[in-house]
Symmetry: C2
Subunit: 406 residues, 2 copies
């Protein structure tokens, strides 16, 4: 426990990934300030789709954490996309060593619902990121920015070549057909407006790293599964979100709740989509490793793939069916995406930093299933189907009953 670990500002620290990260960094000695506008809670109300687990209010959460850990976490309610002056003043006051940026609308189906949600997602996510970068350069604060990106920026039309960590070596035909080697940002192929915003974020980071010398780590995260971490288990008021609705529920957690309530596991299309996964406990560990390993000033944006394993969706469904006895049902796919794809991803950089991946076989699947069973009476089955169509002309009767990825 490093008692003089640096101050950390966690933007979006009330959310599914941000909250356990805040607790973990607090537990290892960082002075933590959470910034959040509570928009995730507001969207849950708007959708009428609450976390399966009961989420305490911010004051209750913080009080519980003080009680069990003796540590204090600050909480500032602020919209970083809209209140630039508030954000800049806060940065200047706290002067954190690290800013971790989770504050984006992160559900792909929500981002495709209609004009309002498309526009909100772009406006919120781009201005949140850009305000942070402008504020750091204007306040003159050399804080390390850690941003949560997504594996989805790479796209899933992969040809089986390994996806590198952000940068790709390519060759150009030069004079007299000599091959010239170049290192480029991996060309993105985002599959939804949400994923698109992460591709846009990448270009913002490239520019501000180059022009203003900002130190930035972008974590291209896989689909997060699980609910609890070491720290959220310490008190019922610390419990983490478990979203299972058609917008925010991600595939594995949603199979688990479907199994718990006796609903067939709904697989989109053939289930041939391969995706990358990570357990929430590893999310938290990876972010701590990223905090401890900032790039030097003047270095290019450091991109790390934050995932531990890949699975084909129908194999995941089969695994959950095997453990639980649930049935599998194949439904039409509301997304425009490749029906089948391979996915080979490098995650060397976290392994080199010492990450010991938690995999699906590690028993946490049954812990997550237990949570699904414990709160099954809070489940509203009508919230499970995804209502967003990727394209206006997709037949309404093709609306399927689950969404694949975050």
């Amino acid at each position: 426990m490093a008692l003089d670990a640096g101050a950390v500002l966690i933007i979006g620290g009330d959310g599914f990934c941000g909250w356990p990260t805040a607790l973990h960094l607090s537990s290892i000695g960082h002075a933590v300030t959470i910034v959040d506008n509570l928009s995730r809670r507001a969207i849950a109300d708007q959708l009428g789709a609450q976390s399966l687990t009961p989420i305490a209010s911010p004051p209750e959460r913080l009080a519980a954490w003080s009680r069990v850990s003796g540590a204090h976490i600050d909480f500032v309610t602020l919209d970083v996309a809209q209140d630039y002056d508030g954000l800049a003043a806060l940065l200047d006051r706290v002067r954190p060593e690290t800013v971790i940026h989770f504050a984006e609308q992160r559900a792909a189906p929500y981002s495709m619902k209609g004009p309002t949600e498309k526009r909100y997602t772009v406006d919120n996510n781009i201005n949140a990121t850009h305000n942070l970068l402008v504020a750091l350069s204007s306040v003159g604060l050399d804080a390390h920015v850690i941003h949560l990106g997504t594996m989805g920026v790479y796209g899933y039309d992969g040809d089986g070549l390994e996806i590198p960590e952000g940068y790709l070596e390519v060759f150009l035909k030069g004079p007299s057909d000599r091959m010239l080697s170049r290192r480029i940002l991996y060309p993105t192929n985002p599959g939804s407006v949400y994923h698109l915003t992460k591709s846009l974020d990448q270009l913002l980071f490239q520019f501000y790293a180059r022009n203003d010398g900002l130190r930035i780590t972008d974590l291209h995260q896989g689909i997060v599964w699980g609910t609890q971490t070491e720290e959220t288990r310490r008190d019922p008021a610390l419990i983490n979100r478990f979203d299972y609705d058609g917008d925010y529920g991600t595939v594995l957690n949603r199979f688990l709740i479907e199994a718990a309530v006796g609903h067939p596991l709904t697989v989109h299309g053939t289930g041939g989509q391969t995706r990358a996964f990570i357990h929430i406990q590893d999310t938290v560990r990876c972010i701590a490793l990223a905090v401890q390993n900032p790039p030097a000033r003047g270095e290019p944006v450091r991109i790390r793939n934050q995932m531990t394993e890949t699975h084909r969706i129908r194999d995941l469904a089969a695994l959950v069916a095997r453990i639980t006895g649930a049935k599998i049902s194949f439904v039409d796919n509301p997304r425009l995406e490749a029906a089948e794809n391979d996915l080979v991803v490098s995650n060397r950089s976290f392994l080199e930093l010492g990450l010991k991946p938690i995999t699906l076989s590690d028993g946490l699947l049954t812990e997550t299933l237990e949570i699904s069973l414990r709160y099954a009476d809070r489940c509203d089955l009508s919230r499970i189907p995804a209502q967003s169509l990727w394209r206006a002309d997709m037949a309404a009767d093709a609306v399927p009953s689950t969404a694949i990825t975050a």
Copy 2:
């Protein structure tokens, strides 16, 4: 003159490129509607830096055009970045065949002035573009979108390889070192927040072309010089903008006004920067060619380089000095950019469509010089120096007295 040419909506049609485009398309038979929020005029007031040429109000301009041409142009005052509903309703009412999108904050130095201008540029430009794309897909209008991008997205760190039109052929190392060919969007390297927004726009276009089948042409335009076109010459009230201030003045026009008022031509750094240029008359012709050659539905975004020649800045200065007898003064560069670069650009696609480029040698340089001389008494010398520093820590005494590019 095609009398039944389709209806065209021109967003940003009150500006330097948009206004002569509107007149030209009207003159060849298109029903033209201009949409503009007059923000360019407001920024000129805010900066206290007016066009060298006196710009009539929109009603005066439209009345003059009716008088000389007999044609009517509609004008709607609307902020496309902020009033999504107004934009969607307008698209639905006019149902244009083509939408030409000029409506962005386009000055690189202005975009680097400070937090307010950085944030305004990103917020305005991204939401303008995104609102248009969302509105088209939501209204269900299969209009051809023509967007004005910039050569600046390619970056100017070039190694002398020819810059293709938007897409680059690269090779990847596949299994057993076999080289696999891929066609990717040219990796961007924007040199200012303004240029950055054009890189972001590109990703928005890629997504909406793919997901919603929108038909999009993105024109990567060089630095525009000159003032008048065939149509703007027809009446004094139709005269086009001539910006020469440190924010909006682009390099060649600014050399010409410097020469006209007896000020030395201020060259940044060594003047070794090579840039691409196009005369405003060719801008207008290129856009008409783009209107007549839309991509088919389902095609990828069509990217065309809209430029006719490249010049090294010090050569341009020497050329203007030779014609006018002006002196040249080398000053510190406020921008972060390569001191010297080569630039080889493909503009095959417009040449193939029949463009006959107007070059600097074509006498229009002296027309532009004559306009500078005619209005020299309107010139405010104090507005010429660029006040924006690319980076906060650039010494204030390094503030130079001109800006290189748009």
